[in-house]
């Protein structure tokens, strides 16, 4: 048994075999060359390939992890095209008549060392990013493929010297139980990613980590920053107690995931998935999603230089609808602006992008652009349960204008000879307090409400949700938010329309019972959490949940609400 202590980076406990991640070593030979121009042109071709790879990695990471996580690849792209680096490399090639591999490796190392020597945690982490970009280009120049990950074919604890965003983007997350790295600090890339994925991670384990043999039995305790290789029986049993129960329960829950979520007293609610791309739809079904409660359409618009055509959009919507067959699929129309830029639309920069010209506000100002999406959606509608949802609605006029544009789009599609489904449900995201307050009016205009609790919380608390300093204001369990949700559900039901939640709150085990008690009809969430949420809701009775909800409305803050939920004893 070998115990390794590191820095706790992400909580959780896991047990499994070690998978040693060793990136391909790229040897750089220094050679004298005759034709500097030819060398530099090889570099340019390699950089073009690298740029495409980075774009693809960014998209993949956005879908699997988060936009924040994916943003690192923007930094990589900036390093790749950095004029100082390129100038240095060109000077070396021209003056020393060396091959471009050697000049590039020198240039990368030059800047990476400078960063490391600044004695700043953030810059040291960027040194790793610069080397990551450097290796990517060297690999392309040498024709080598990226690290072979085919050995990772069972759930494992990933051990590595260090992990770069390029490495982790390519790991099959289904086979990752946890991460341990020899290098890295609590704000390293591995730490951030592990938190986003909800996996345990220990970083800064030191050189002893890489002496562990592939396949060794590993225990990892993220919260304690502890890693145990080849544990003895006693330790194994201790960990088994901790993890065994959790794993067993997860297995049982997954088996029951396809069944409905019905409370002990017989109330059934709909559990659906938030999805960011057609490939997500397939895994959503595996986790027991009964449909899609939020299909984000930004994936169609980002990372490109021209707007997606009606035909391209149609193909993407069809791909999702074909997977979901007759199940409901709620498509949110484009939600960009401010913090998300599109090359082909001048969205301008704003001091407060979250309060700015975005989503429906922008789309209504660009009706011809917006109608391309609406026509594609209408054309995808026949034989499926496609529903259309408008984001960032603040006023009734916005709903009416959106619906008018949809009616125009319908006429255009029919005139072009394409069929359109009858009775397509049209709803709104309720994420602005104004819409929550006026829910009684909105309920008469639409077929459903989906409450975007992330934004509703940020707008209620006037606290940008991406700011770490104000994380304490980001709790959707604050009664200030819950009271609005109650109102939206009540007003929706008075008009006979269904009400869902598509923020993270819907999948939060402590918040979901409150939503159940408030009478919520639909819970839309990240798919991997569906089996667990269904299991939790099945343990509740609607009557108990109603009592719970009634009580927490009159508590003074989110912490008190969560404490009350945890301590609630069922009748």
């Amino acid at each position: 048994m070998k115990i390794i202590k590191g820095i706790p980076a992400s909580g959780g406990i896991a047990a499994g075999p070690a998978y040693i991640f060793k990136p391909t070593e790229i040897g750089v030979k220094r050679e004298t060359i005759q034709n500097p121009a030819a060398e530099l042109s090889r570099l340019e071709s390699a950089r073009n390939v690298a740029r495409e790879q980075l774009k693809a990695l960014k998209l993949k990471t956005e879908n699997e992890a988060s936009a924040d996580e994916a943003a690192i690849f923007d930094a990589h792209a900036m390093f790749l095209d950095d004029p100082s680096l390129l100038e240095l490399v060109a000077d070396t090639v021209n003056a020393e008549k060396v091959n471009v591999e050697a000049a590039w490796a020198d240039g990368i190392e030059n800047f990476a060392r400078q960063m490391e020597m600044m004695g700043d945690e953030y810059l040291s982490a960027r040194a790793a990013d610069i080397r990551d970009v450097g290796k990517r280009v060297l690999r392309i120049l040498s024709g080598q493929s990226e690290t072979d990950l085919s050995g990772l074919n069972a759930p494992s604890v990933i051990l590595a010297q260090d992990l770069t965003p390029s490495d982790t983007a390519r790991l099959n997350k289904d086979f990752v139980l946890g991460f341990a790295t020899a290098e890295g600090g609590p704000t390293s890339h591995t730490a951030i990613l592990a938190k986003a994925l909800g996996l345990p991670a220990v970083v800064g384990c030191g050189p002893a980590l890489m002496e562990i043999k592939s396949g060794s039995e590993m225990l990892i305790h993220g919260g304690k920053g502890e890693l145990i290789a080849d544990p003895d029986e006693k330790t194994k049993q201790l960990y088994q107690k901790l993890t065994g129960e959790a794993t067993r329960v997860a297995g049982v829950e997954l088996e029951a995931a396809a069944e409905h979520a019905v409370t002990r007293d017989g109330r059934q609610v709909e559990i659906v998935a938030n999805v960011g791309s057609p490939s997500d739809a397939v895994s959503a079904l595996k986790y027991g999603a009964e449909g899609i409660g939020l299909l984000r359409t930004e994936f169609l618009y980002l990372e490109r230089t021209t707007a997606p055509t009606e035909e391209e959009q149609l193909a993407a919507y069809n791909a999702v609808l074909d997977v979901m067959e007759k199940r409901p699929v709620v498509v949110r129309t484009l939600d960009v602006g401010g913090d998300k830029q599109l090359d082909y639309l001048d969205l301008g920069k704003e001091a407060n992008p979250f309060l700015g010209w975005r989503a429906i506000r922008m789309c209504l100002d660009k009706p011809d652009f917006f109608k391309i999406q609406l026509r594609a959606l209408l054309r995808a509608s026949p034989n499926h349960d496609l529903r259309i949802m408008f984001p960032m609605i603040a006023t009734l006029e916005e709903v009416r204008r959106s619906k008018a544009l949809l009616a125009e789009a319908r006429k255009e599609v029919l005139a072009a000879g394409h069929p359109v489904a009858d009775n397509i449900q049209v709803g709104i995201m309720v994420e602005i307090p104004a819409a929550a307050q006026m829910a009684d009016f909105f309920a008469r205009e639409v077929d459903f409400f989906s409450i975007g609790t992330n934004d509703l919380t940020q707008y209620t608390m006037a606290a940008e949700r991406t700011s770490e300093k104000m994380a304490y204001l980001a709790d959707p369990c604050h009664p200030a938010v819950i009271r609005q949700i109650k109102r939206v559900i009540e007003e929706g039901h008075k008009q006979g329309i269904w009400v869902g939640v598509c923020g993270e709150m819907a999948g939060d085990p402590e918040a979901a019972p409150i939503l159940l008690g408030l009478g919520l009809d639909e819970f839309s969430m990240a798919a991997p959490g569906i089996p667990h949420l269904k299991a939790i809701l099945r343990e509740w009775s609607y009557a108990d949940a109603q009592k719970l909800a009634e009580h927490v409305l009159n508590l003074e803050n989110g912490t008190a609400v969560r404490e009350y939920v945890r301590g609630f004893t069922h009748a």
């Binding site: 900036m78 390093f79 960063m115 953030y122």
Partner: protein, 89 residues
């Protein structure tokens, strides 16, 4: 040639997002633009290079100097200084 000095008021200095915004702004001009950290009396680097700008080690309250040479030099210095004075708003 146009020059100007400005104190960086951002909490993280010229790191991360502010550095990226700074470089993007500089890159939008035709002029050759260079920058150095007056407080640290460091080297001059291209303001259009993120690697260069990061290695200046500009922290909160450091003063930086910018020079621009080219057809839009006056505008470049003015707008870059305005960006920093507005704390990248």
């Amino acid at each position: 040639m146009e020059t100007g000095k400005v104190k960086v008021i951002n909490e993280v200095g010229l790191h991360a997002r502010p550095a990226a915004l700074f470089v993007a702004k500089a890159a939008s001009f035709k002029s050759d633009i260079r920058v150095h950290n007056v407080t640290k009396a460091g080297k001059w680097v291209s303001a259009k290079s993120i690697l260069g700008v990061l290695t200046l080690g500009v922290e909160k309250d450091h003063e930086i100097e910018i020079t621009a040479e080219g057809e839009d030099e006056a505008q470049a210095v003015k707008e870059i200084i305005a960006l920093i004075e507005s704390d990248f708003a």
